[in-house]
Amino acid sequence: MSVPVIRAENIAKKYGDFVAVDGISFEVQRGESFGLLGPNGAGKSTTMKMIAAVSTRTSGSLEVLGMDPNTDGPAIRSQLGVVPQEDNLDQELRVRENLITYGRFFGMSHAAVAKRADELLEFAQLTDRAKSKVEPLSGGMKRRLTIARSLMNDPLMLLLDEPTTGLDPQARHILWDRLFRLKEQGTTLVLTTHYMDEAEQLSDRIVVVDKGAIMAEGSPAQLIRQYSSKEVLEVRYGSDKNAPVAKAIADIGERQEILPDRILIYSDNGERDLAEITKRGHHPMTSLVRRSSLEDVFLRLTGRSLVE
């Protein structure tokens, strides 16, 4: 096995009494696409900042590209591409200028940044907005520009913190397509997200994080196999009726989760279980049979939903 690009052992970050990250350990291999999945406030962004060599860890050992971020921050950062959670584009500059000035921070020549900026505007589908100001761009365009900016130095590893939060579905899909191309080219991707579909789309391997600690680790398929069933039947009876009905059908399926608005029945055959419920005279207002997702894994592991 090759040398991991990230090796985190028991890393922790404390702000006074508040523990943001509570001793987590993981490794990321070169070329891998690695996701940190968890709800807001789980410590994902803090972990990301420690990897990005912009936040000093409180304890534990961390190696990024073979170096310690606490002592070799600038060298590590010279090989990273960072897409932060909030856009921090330079509003006083034009679109193309944002790329040019950023490239200069890596010591690239004026000629090299100009060439690279044009290539990346093409990649980000922003060539026709090169001279535009940043402010009027749509949310999706700003994200694509931020990703283009993060690629100026042709990074060994790209860190993406909640890359599609706040975007509409179409903009998300365009962005996923761009990120998938990078993955195909062999760029190491590390991303945090609280969207299970995003984690499934982009990650080869995921760690599920909650309250600063790792709950589970594996590929999306492995996690679903290990912590959930093949299918999920969702039935709704109305807010005050869900709980009493759940008692009456408790023996159906492998396991159940009773949420305020619906009952989730974990099963290897949702349609069969729905027929059984109906046969017993409990006709739901609405029903849905779907495949298990990472959301179900998270619910199982923490007893809470990802987006609360």
Binding site: S2, I76, P84, L89, E92, E97, G107
Partner: protein, 269 residues
């Protein structure tokens, strides 16, 4: 995999020149508001000189400290203009880089260090202050308010003076989570009194004894007095001139040290 030695060799250029890349960025950003810088650089001295040189000076025909009033007040006008710009630049642009535009976080995601961000910020302002002070000096010479040959020394003194107020304010602004009126308060309770009681329009000795301390702690008074010795050869003991210089350097350097520390703390939080 790229070796650690290769990566460190790659990072060598930004390690040396990072401060200059930040300066480049700030200069490029300045294009957006260059008309403001140029207009105010020309309008400020013109307004001051018309008001004080033609207006107030006529009311004080006997002059001040043995020289015409305009000559007496000219160094103070230059210094107060540049120091006021220095105070402004130490507040909003610093907090903005952390809070509103977050541009300092974007820069720090690259090999650039917090110290280089501060360095580039200050180098850019040196260029800007040199321009503004240079234009002001040109007007003063044109109005016969300072001698051409020795008066130019006021330009570096003004820049030092600007940093002596900018860096302590920058250190403070970098630690603020938000501006809930602090900056307006500083303008009214620090910058304004400094302007009024620092021997600007009249010698500090005219200020009531109980207010004289304002002048002594004020970078503006030290910068102005130093400017006067170079401008019209105001006579003061050499130790006093040395004190003026030492106070300005101390403010700027100690402020710069704390400003850098505040940037490090905020960017590695």
């Amino acid at each position: 995999m790229t070796s650690v030695a290769d990566i460190k060799a790659d990072a060598e250029k930004p390690r040396r020149w990072g401060w200059w890349y930040v300066t480049e960025l700030r200069l490029r950003e300045m294009r957006g508001y260059v008309s403001y810088v140029v207009t105010s650089s020309f309008a400020n001295p013109l307004m001051y000189l018309l008001a004080l040189g033609i207006g107030l000076a006529n009311l004080i025909p006997e002059g001040m400290e043995g020289v015409p009033f305009l000559v007496f007040v000219a160094p103070a006008l230059l210094m107060s203009t540049i120091l006021t710009v220095g105070a402004e630049e130490g507040m909003y642009p610093v907090l903005s880089g952390f809070k509103w535009h977050k541009i300092f976080f974007a820069i720090h995601a690259t090999p650039i260090t917090p110290g280089q961000i501060v360095g580039g910020f200050l180098v850019h302002l040196t260029i800007r202050f040199t321009f503004t002070a240079g234009v002001f000096y040109g007007f003063l010479v044109a109005f016969g308010a300072v001698p051409f040959a020795s008066g130019w020394v006021m330009i570096p003194i003004a820049i030092l003076g600007a940093f002596s107020i900018l860096t302590p304010l920058g250190a403070y602004a970098a630690r603020l989570d938000d501006d809930t009126g602090q900056f307006a308060l500083i303008q009214r309770l620090v910058v304004m009194p400094m302007f009024l009681f620092s021997g600007t329009f009249f010698p500090l000795s005219q200020v009531p004894d109980w207010l004289e301390w304002v002048g002594w702690v004020s970078p503006l008074w030290h910068a102005t007095q130093l400017g006067r010795t170079f401008s019209y050869g105001a006579i003061e003991p050499i130790w006093l001139s040395a004190t003026h210089l030492a106070v300005l350097i101390a403010y700027a350097v100690i402020g710069g040290y704390f400003m850098k520390r505040a940037f490090v703390a905020r960017l590695t939080r």
